[in-house]
């Protein structure tokens, strides 16, 4: 994958858990243009291992002098977000991929319902710029733990002009999804980005209310779930890779020097799909790409987020 060399131009602590980074190209040139909802993958070289984490671009798509990303320090940390928080400083060089948009706004939509959970707000920050530019009808529903921990609320309030609805868990405020999705006019599209249970709840509610698949969009940026260590055998390359508890299978394969395809690194796009040839313990599917019946059949795995419950897995790679 072709990469862009960037330098960190500014770092700002948005909340005790969230940091905002401004990235500029190393040679000061403009960065490639992007559309609202795009993400980049940041490569971090820590001692001993490489992290590759996807982050949404949250700046305005009309500004290509810099990219803006926000990183939440993950509690069950596996390193990537901690590295960004503790090690990355102004002036440091990083490698990033070209922006990819797997969470783009539908051009056919008459109305957009955006639902964000916590740090899942980031892709919507750039999308709102796009929506405002065409004066589109939208609502942003933003759920978080508490006002103290929520990022960008003031900024959004200003930008969204009355179209922002906030829900603080600490004050027992919850989004009533059924109520929200039951009364939307035809041609409405819903977008959700947040923790897995929230994504699942939105998908299920919309589907149960008869929303067509085309009108439902989701993105999930969570650290790949940790699990038990296991060994994966790459049948075509003829090598065996150890997957430690706190590393995803995709990361372990990359670490072993084998080129594996990936795009979203969050179990959504389907790019990393691998055919399972053998398993001794079944698959723990954490993705939103495979259908339920495909998951049951255990013939495929999305190594960016999924693991095996067994000791050994053989895949066609």
């Amino acid at each position: 994958m072709s990469t862009i060399n960037v330098k960190v131009a500014a770092v700002e602590e948005v909340t005790p858990l969230i940091k905002h980074f401004r990235l500029e190209s190393e040679d000061g040139a403009d960065l490639p243009p992007f559309s609202g909802g795009s993400h980049i993958v940041v490569t971090m070289d820590a001692e001993g291992r490489t992290y590759r984490n996807p982050y949404s671009l949250m700046g305005s798509p009309s500004d290509t002098r810099a990219y803006h990303i926000s990183v939440r320090r993950q509690e069950s940390s596996r390193g990537g977000s901690v590295f960004m928080h503790e090690r990355v400083q102004v002036g440091m060089r990083l490698k990033i991929t070209h922006p990819v948009n797997l969470f783009s706004l539908s051009k056919l939509a008459h109305k957009h319902i955006l639902i964000a959970g916590g740090i899942g707000i980031t892709p919507f920050m750039s999308q709102i710029e796009d929506l405002k530019a065409v004066d589109a009808d939208y609502e942003l529903h933003y759920a978080f733990r508490s006002y103290e921990q929520a990022a960008f609320v003031n900024e959004l309030e200003e930008k969204c002009e009355g179209k922002l609805y906030c829900y603080a868990d600490s004050q027992n405020e919850r989004i009533d999804l059924t109520e929200l999705l039951r009364h939307q006019p035809l041609g409405t599209h819903v977008y959700v980005c947040g923790p897995s249970p929230m994504v699942v709840a939105v998908l299920e509610t919309a589907r149960n209310l008869g929303w067509p698949e085309n009108n439902i969009h989701h993105e999930e940026f969570s650290a790949p779930p940790v699990g038990e260590p296991f060994k994966v055998q790459l049948a075509r390359s003829g090598i065996e890779v150890e997957v430690p508890a706190e590393m995803s299978m995709l990361e372990a394969i990359e670490e072993a020097g084998v080129a594996a395809d990936s795009l979203c690194r969050g179990g959504v796009c389907g790019r990393c799909e691998l055919t399972v040839l053998e398993t001794d313990g079944g698959i723990q599917h954490h993705d939103h790409y495979l259908s339920d019946s495909e998951k049951v059949s255990c013939r495929s795995i999305m190594p960016c987020v999924s693991r095996t419950k067994g000791k050994r897995l053989v895949v066609d790679l």
């Binding site: 008459h110 035809l186 409405t188 067509p212 085309n214």
Partner: protein
Amino acid sequence: MERGYWIKSKPIYTSLTWHEKATSHLVLATGIGGMAVLKLFQQMHPTQPVTVLYGKYGQIELDYSDTLKSIIQDDLHLYKFEEDLLKKLQVLLRDATMGLRIYVAGSEGFIWDVVAAAKPFGIQESEIMKEQVDTLARTVYCVHCKTITKYVTTNITCCNGCERMLFVRDHFSRNLGAYMGLMVDAESPGELPAIEEIYP
């Protein structure tokens, strides 16, 4: 036609079956398409509200109006002209909410007229369940003068607009709801292959 040959643009029609998940249903049919509606109600009577718009236009068309009236206690509307039926469709869509599922049964021309009427409301063609009944007659779009000729049953037809002889291709435009018609005798005027009825 070559065996196993299939053009991606060619629409695929199915038999109507209820969407299990919906907040309301809207069924549209004409003529013999009424049978598809009756079959739908044979499957079951959904718990959600159902609206049926049925058109019986021509004299010779089969008429299921009476049977439909006795079966459907919900919202049934009968029409003599497609224009009126489509107008009612637009009125209904204006106030409809997400979760409405749409079903159409009729000639290919009728199906795509409904698709076109629903499109401005943000409804994508793929969301509408379609059953083709009655006739395989094609709506043909002349790529030369852009006129649309309806109810074409032959492989070659005369364009209603420019009177060129058009070969009816398999290439279907979802936007126009029509098959592409290309002049046949461009090279050697007047020399026409045999005209056959292949879309009865």
